[in-house]
């Protein structure tokens, strides 16, 4: 089972992100469960949502305590106590920020996780570019698809248009695809630099 925990703020589509991810997994014939952590239904309040993906029936209904992936939709949440709690040693972290991991003060986490498992993408900027609204959730899902391969980008796109009809859906898909390409490019550059390092050694 692959478990994802989303952190963001009320109004950023944190709950919708988990739902769309579950729809993407469903499109691929997998079992998926998405649910919010309830109570803070206010704009700007910290919100947590969860998604589980498995090949088998998912019976478990407790919150995700040991995520395989963490999606942080708002970098102002980075100081939240317990934000990274339970993250698997080989887990993934995707943060919405235009700054890099080291600049966000997450150097220690960067060292701990396998190379290339923790990244930032400018999801808010991508959303503003494509549909002029600071809603980073679709871009974050595109990024997650490239980062973890838990769902294909085509499934993410299908899930987005399933949720948002018309032009706004297509614009969200464009944001997700660009985020996907950004992560792929980062990974390629990273592999290249690793090769260079290996040659230098």
């Amino acid at each position: 089972m692959f478990q994802i925990r989303f952190h963001g703020r009320g109004g950023q589509g944190v709950v919708t992100a988990a739902e769309m991810l579950s729809v993407a997994a469903f499109q691929e014939g997998k079992n998926a469960q998405a649910f919010p952590s309830f109570g803070s239904e206010r704009m700007g309040a910290p919100v947590v949502s969860f998604c589980r993906i498995d090949d088998h029936e998912i019976r478990l209904r407790d919150p995700v305590y040991d995520p395989d992936a963490l999606i942080i939709q708002d970098p102002t949440l980075l100081l939240t106590p317990g934000l990274f709690d339970g993250l698997k040693p080989d887990g993934y972290v995707l943060i919405n920020s235009s700054r890099d991991i080291a600049a966000l003060g997450l150097g220690t986490l960067l060292q701990k996780l396998p190379a290339g498992h923790i990244l930032t993408i400018p999801a808010t900027e991508l959303a503003l570019k494509h549909f002029k609204k600071p809603l980073p959730n679709a871009a974050m899902l595109g990024g997650l698809s490239a980062l973890s391969h838990i769902v294909k980008i085509e499934s993410v796109a299908a899930a987005i248009t399933h949720n948002f009809a018309g032009a706004i859906g297509l614009a969200n898909v464009a944001a997700a695809k660009e985020a996907y390409d950004i992560v792929v490019a980062i990974q390629k550059a990273f592999v290249k630099s690793q090769r260079k390092e290996a040659i230098a050694c």
């Binding site: 579950s22 729809v23 998405a34 649910f35 919010p36 019976r59 478990l60 305590y65």
Partner: protein, 409 residues
């Protein structure tokens, strides 16, 4: 059709397939997306020949459902928590009048303290209102139970409350096979009322019944509800024959055949418990689970049959009766469980507190094989309650001592 949808939406689509004729709703907190979805389905013409009535309170919602049902319409409403309490008088009237209304209860806690989250306090507080109460384990079952509920209600002339865990199920997005209209039509015949308010042939229902007949009215209501055992069993069997899956029924057993320890629970926690039991079984522990699908009437015989090999019973429940303990535990004991068998009551998940698999597993491990029956609270903040209890003992008053003294003068 297999869909990845929110629990509330699945229930709304399922109710829509049952061809309701009147849907009454007070769509303000505490409420779920169910009535929102149904409102949309009526307005868009997906539900034909149906009146959607927005009312001014939960009391009105059920009262309108009562009137509609008495006039021969298939009536539906939904509520939660305080909403159920606000309609309490009408809840008793619906059953007393023998009206086959179906109501979804998106289970939530009851205040004070104010709390909007899931537990079973609402359902338990009206367990004696004369309704059939059935509990869903997951959203597939929530969807299926509504289709069965109309059939059960109409077969018994008794209202049915379908209990679906608030938030945990109502707000969870998961895979649900929503049946086709043809399937539902072949399973659920059109509503033929056994009594009818008809201006052409005027009758009175709900008239005064004095001491000379009130006992008999209640006796008959009790006897009538006992018919639910057979009706629900058949509704579940026929459901399987039509839709090809197990849903509903009275109780379900999981690894109870050789189990020394058997857990009894109901609602959405069943899934987490099954996962926990699989872990324990791998470690060689003989542990099993009985899930209660029908709480009212209580399936005494079936629970006892499922517990026959148990040397120790754990009842896990999401409500507390202050001064008594667990409601479900009392029912399990009263169902005929031998007094020599220790019964541990675990109160868990109150007011939306998560029930982690890890906590359950550790609790079972710590408990071992007890020799006495005790009441426990899962993940209770022991230090906090102890300090509060100490304060109560010492001061007996939340007001500052000076203020208390001043009032005495």
């Amino acid at each position: 059709m297999l869909k990845q949808i929110e629990g509330s939406r699945a229930v709304a689509e399922s109710v829509a397939l049952c061809r309701p004729e009147v849907i009454c709703a007070y769509p303000i907190t505490p409420q779920t997306h169910i009535v929102e979805g149904l409102g949309e389905l009526v307005k868009s013409g997906h539900i034909k020949d149906c009146k959607y009535i927005n009312v001014e309170s939960e009391f009105a919602a059920l009262s309108v459902a009562i009137g509609s049902s008495a006039a021969g319409a298939r009536a539906y409403t939904a509520t939660s928590s305080q909403g159920l309490l606000f309609m309490a008088e009408a809840v008793f009237n619906a059953s007393g009048l023998g009206l086959p209304i179906v109501m979804t209860l998106g289970n939530r806690a009851i205040g004070a303290p104010l709390n909007i989250w899931n537990d079973h306090s609402d359902a338990m507080s009206l367990r004696d209102a004369g309704w059939i109460q059935i509990f869903a384990e997951n959203n597939q079952e929530a969807c299926d139970l509504h289709i069965q509920a109309f059939r059960i209600a109409e077969a018994l002339s008794c209202p049915v409350m379908v209990c679906v865990d608030g938030f945990i199920l109502t707000h969870a997005v998961e895979q649900v096979d929503v049946p086709t209209q043809e399937q539902v039509d072949s399973y659920l015949p059109a509503f033929v009322p056994v009594q009818l308010l008809d201006p052409a042939k005027p009758v009175s229902i709900g008239v005064v019944v004095g001491p000379d007949a009130f006992t008999e009215a209640r006796y008959l209501e009790h006897k009538k509800q006992l018919r639910a055992y057979d009706v629900i069993t058949k509704a579940s069997a026929d459901f399987k024959a039509t839709f090809g899956r197990d849903s509903g029924g009275l109780v379900r057993s999981y690894h109870t055949e050789d189990a020394d320890t058997v857990i009894v629970a109901m609602g959405s926690v069943i899934g987490t418990l099954k996962d926990m039991i699989d872990d324990k079984r791998k470690q060689g522990q003989k542990i099993g689970l009985v899930s209660i699908c029908m709480f009212r009437p209580f399936p005494n015989k079936e629970v006892q049959a499922a517990l026959k090999s148990a040397k120790h019973v754990i009842v896990l429940e999401k409500s507390i009766t202050a001064g008594q303990g667990g409601v479900l535990a009392a029912h399990v004991r009263a169902s005929g469980l031998d007094v020599s068998i220790p019964l541990t009551t675990v109160i868990a998940g109150l007011g939306g507190r998560p029930i982690p698999k890890k906590s359950l597993s550790e609790f079972v491990e710590r408990l071992g094989t007890p020799t006495t029956s005790e009441l426990h609270f899962l993940d209770l903040k022991q230090k906090f309650v102890e300090s509060e209890l100490k304060k109560i003992e010492e001061e007996r008053c939340a007001m500052p001592k000076k203020a208390v003294a001043a009032r005495g003068k």
